[in-house]
Amino acid sequence: MSKNDRDIDILLRQNAERQLVDFDWEGLRRDIGRRIPGTGAASRPWNQYRKWTAVAATIAGTAGVLILATLSTTGPGRIASTPGEAKVAMAEASHVIGTAQVSFPPAEKPARCKVEILASDKPRSRDRARASWCIITAHEPSRERHGDGGDVSDVLALF
């Protein structure tokens, strides 16, 4: 190191030392301490991302609620989950793709029709029976018409 360089370093050091002679170290620590939260002070990494965590949780929660709502209103198993109260119930169990007999409430006026069972991608197992999507695409003349004579051929039943 040249003398010039050394002189510069000494000058800078002198300047720093002179300024720090009566520096309020206690005050600095006090100020820092005052601004640090009292308990559980040191944050975990996730604290840095708590905003995004909250957003992600909200999105996931909303999606979950929507999925549950959709399943509870339209998903497979709804009718089968409350046997006896189902709007459409299988009169005779059938797991064969093709036709099956179904009945329609009210129970005192059972209706029967021939339906075509279309396979779902993932048959559900419920009460030891495999349930499939059952889409009524055709019907035979029923013993009694459903309700006020409404046609049942367009009913989508999920077992």
Binding site: D9, L12, A16, L20, D31, G33, R35, A41, S43, Q48
Partner: protein, 188 residues
């Protein structure tokens, strides 16, 4: 290179305790590192009041980010990096303010009545150093301030600055060269 200072073991313990929310442990960390932190900030800024504010911010940032510190044994260097970054940010902000309102600030500075601290700020050498440091680039100021810290090896300075040791030497060389001209009166 690892920090092999005598208090290394204690620092490690304090970092872990601070992470667990021990405020007293963090206060102890501040106590152990405050001189070096202020020295660095002062070296970059040339003004102890600004340096104190910068160090305060740096410690608070360090506290918030302690959980991110993957190598607690390198706490000192990690902290110094934060201090240097904060100080450089302040330099830039000051520079922007100067450009925007140089005349206004000059007039304001003249109006301020000197208090006890301002009397010390009136020291000619300090003012000259402060002015001179502002003439350096961020890298030059950072390099020469880190170089000025007693127990910091050249490769540590390089790691803190995120460049090679050769680049550090170059920045220090440039800084000294500029300062020699800018502080000529005080060197004689």
């Amino acid at each position: 290179m690892k920090d092999t200072g005598p208090e290394q073991e204690e620092v490690l313990r304090l970092v872990w305790a601070s992470r667990a929310g021990d405020k007293a442990a963090f206060d102890r960390l501040v106590l152990l590192h405050q001189r070096q932190a202020v020295g660095l900030a002062l070296g970059i800024l040339g003004n102890r009041d600004d340096a104190a504010e910068v160090v305060q911010e740096a410690f608070l940032k360090a506290h918030v980010s302690l959980g991110h510190l993957s190598q607690p044994e390198r706490f000192r260097f990690w902290l110094l990096k934060i201090v240097a970054n904060e100080a450089v940010s302040r330099r830039r902000a000051a520079r922007r303010r100067q450009v925007i309102a140089r005349l206004f600030l000059a007039a304001q500075a003249q109006r301020q009545s000197p208090g006890p601290q301002e009397k010390e700020n009136a020291d000619e050498l300090q003012k000259a150093v402060e002015r001179a440091m502002r003439q350096l680039t961020d890298k030059e100021a950072r390099a020469i301030a880190l170089f000025g810290l007693d127990d910091l090896a050249q490769d540590e300075v390089a790691r803190i600055m995120g460049c090679s040791a050769g680049a550090v030497r170059w920045h220090v060389h440039r800084a000294r060269k500029k300062l020699r001209v800018l502080l000529k009166e005080h060197l004689e």
